[in-house]
Amino acid sequence: MRTLIRRILDRLFTSVAGLSVLLMSAALVLVLGPILWRGATAVVFQGTVEFRRMQLYEFGRGDAEAVKAEVAQATQARAPVYQMLDEFSEGILVEKLSDRAKDINRSFDDQVAHRVDAGTISSEEGRRLGRAARKLRRTLLDAYDTDDKDEALELLDEVLSSPARKDLKNTVAESLFKQAGKYKRIVESVDLTQRDTYAESLREVSDILRELFGPRREDRAADLAEVRYGVTRADQAARVLDRLLWTEKWVPVEPGKPLVKKRTPRAERFQGTPIAGLFSTVERDLDKMLRPETTVYWRFFTDNSTTGHFFGGVGPEVVGTLMLTALAMAIAVPIGVVTAAYLVECTKDTLVVRILRTCINTLAGVPSIVFGLFGLAFFVLWALPGLDLAHGSSVLAGGLTLALLVLPIIIRSSEEAIRAVPQSYKEASLALGAGGLRTFLTVTLPAALPGVLTGVILSMSRAAGETAPILFTAAVAVGPWPGSLLKPCRTLSYASYDMAVGDRVAQRVPHNQFGMILALVLLVLILNVAAILIRSRISRKLRGG
């Protein structure tokens, strides 16, 4: 019995230990999964015609003729929607109508004055016509103003059956009748008392449509690129369409309980109006209006971005990260390898070596944010301005800070690699008469190179991913394409932070948020896989003989 319990406990222990490894793997998958999966949607997605239009105008890419033809087709598909919208807004947006009526009246006055001058009609006749037209206009404006359906119809009938109609034939004022006729049709179908709510809902609908299809006419004057185009991706289009088709409202179910989200079709609100069919039309023909196509946007990794990170890619961030990493490596690798060589080759366990080792360990344990503080206090505010090089944060300051951060990693891995070189190699070289330096450079270092390289690659991935040390020394959220060592730059790590937390524009383009972090994670993963492969080759070689 006791043995049984002990065996069960043993099995339990084994499986719990196995479980913890499984848990670790699950954590890796859970963290990397969403980043890779959702980040991939920044590169591969259903791009709409608006995407191709944006690429053409913002990046000068694509076949202009083909894109224009496609835009024309899309515009044609969208036409019925806008027609419905216009017709309805005629009846709802009264100010517009009133303005037009006044315009007509004014130009009619001009026309009459012109005819009087020309002597076609007498001045008294002219005054009479003017009075009649003004009266018509006043009645029409009253009809526009009123909320009462019957009153409006009555007023409109008054206009339409006006005795002056015959006199005003073939003048500008004739369009007043046309207006009245149009408005009458709308009044018959629309509940005028709800005109204000309609107007508000209508504004919402046209805002959403603008977001979906972009500005109706080529509105090149728009400052921000993000309002120059409609939705560029099918997944985004689906979200906007959802907002168009449904309205959401938080309603209390019962007192004391949290509010519940209630969705109602937006079409219900417009029952019986000219745009009741708009919603189903958009839903049915969305593909014709946006023409989505599977797009592989490789240039995401090299493109600049416009207005925040709304359109475009992560090019400047990639370049900035590479610059910082390269600089940090250029400084840290020579120092690190020489230090490792010194530790292995030159000295026994003296006090100096012990101090050196303690310092390396301390350096490895310094929190990254403290490196950032040090970089700020030393490089940014003291050394670089002292040398009159850079004022304020710069790639140089960030690279130097990162170099200190990765130095212990390089030293440790290089030391290990150099130590692993068999003593017999060195002895053979020394026996052949080579000096210490020559032995190190021509025998030990080449033999240790793969191991050193592994450490260098791993520290590169560390330098590329670090954010805290460059917060105050090198990184900016917005800025020009990085080029100078003495200027701050955009980096993948800082931009990922900024897009996840700070940037309000970025919240609207989750694919770009995830695309940014994908670029960083890919860079780090590639470097790490390379390191793992090199290391497994070394260990195979060692085991193989």
Partner: protein
């Protein structure tokens, strides 16, 4: 010196290749000695970059923190008061809640990371065959390699909404979120260092325990873990250092509210840590202001904590090494 020198002085009896006297002249001897030592000195000079940079880090952090530390009352306020209002005209620098926040998320992370990390280390060192270990190791390496900003990104855009929507918490960015993510980040450190400590315990100790009839669980728990305890303790301390010094994750995931969780077990409260305070506020302060120096004082505290932890872990590892032989 060169081997391709014309062999004019070669005696007919010497074998080919021995074209120079084996004995060096005193001049050559001297220059060789000088060259060697100058070279060594140069090497040492380069190697001392590390020593210099550690010195400079302490020096410059201290230099910027001193104006804050020497102002009367500020130091005591930093460690006792909870009133952190650095931007007021009469600023208050009570860092107690921030200190507690750091310790809180770090301990939270350890509660998750230590059991999982140790079990995984045992699994790797004592249970799985070599081949499987070669598969699992890269997983740990990748976990360690993922940049902290990626973890923070995950915490704030995937994990926090999930906790908020599925678990019904008031806010997804809280101490629990930060602790869990920090645990994931600390696990690789704990696993790899304690695995080293466990493998260093010799075969004969394991075999002795098995010979006495103990099961694997008993061997591990009662013999190997105690034998490797200094190494394991060092692993835990290093994992703790990773968690306490981590910036991006806690800045993004902990909610950044200056408050002490009440009651103390309420892990769904938003907290603020030392690292997050530095990262979040340094960008907004005027260089040279009291606030700026206060942030350096927090940095100094952080540096001191990690320095002490580092010394402890180093001595533990040294002891483990001594014990082994």
């Amino acid at each position: 010196m060169n081997s391709n020198q014309t062999p004019q002085a070669t005696s007919s009896t010497a074998a080919d290749g021995f074209d120079r006297p084996l004995l060096l002249t005193p001049g050559q001897d001297l220059s060789g000695w000088a060259f060697r030592n100058v070279g060594r000195a140069l090497l040492f000079l380069v190697a001392s970059t590390c020593i210099l940079s550690v010195l400079f880090i302490f020096l410059f952090i201290l230099r910027e923190a001193i104006p804050f530390l020497t102002k009367s009352g500020y130091l005591a306020e930093l460690f006792t008061s909870r009133e952190w209002y650095p931007a007021r005209t009469k600023p208050l620098f009570g860092g107690w809640a921030i200190l507690v926040g750091s310790v809180y998320v770090t301990l939270g992370a350890l509660v998750v990371a230590v059991p999982i990390g140790l079990l995984a280390a045992v699994f790797l060192s004592d249970i799985v065959p070599f081949r499987l270990r070669q598969v699992i190791k890269p997983i740990i390496e990748l976990l360690a390699a993922i940049p902290s900003v990626a973890y923070g990104f995950f915490a704030v855009l995937v994990f926090a909404p999930w906790m908020q929507n599925t678990l019904g918490m008031d806010t997804g960015t809280n101490a629990l979120n930060a602790s869990v993510i920090l645990a994931v980040m600390a696990i690789p450190t704990i696993v790899s260092i304690s695995e080293d400590a466990l493998t260093a315990i010799g075969r004969e100790i394991r075999e002795g325990a098995y010979a006495l009839g103990s099961t694997r669980a008993e061997t591990t728990l009662k013999v190997i873990l105690p034998a490797a305890r200094s190494g394991i303790l060092a692993a835990i301390i290093l994992g703790m250092m990773r968690a306490i010094g981590e910036t991006m994750v806690v800045w993004m995931a902990s909610g950044n509210a200056v408050q002490v969780p009440t009651p103390w077990w309420d892990i769904t409260t938003s907290v603020r840590t030392m690292t997050a305070t530095i990262a979040g506020e340094m960008g907004e302060t005027v260089h040279g202001s009291d606030h700026y120096h206060a942030l350096f004082a927090i940095g100094l505290a952080l540096l001191s904590i990690t320095f002490v932890l580092n010394i402890i872990s180093e001595s533990l590892l040294a002891r483990a090494k001594r014990k082994r032989g």
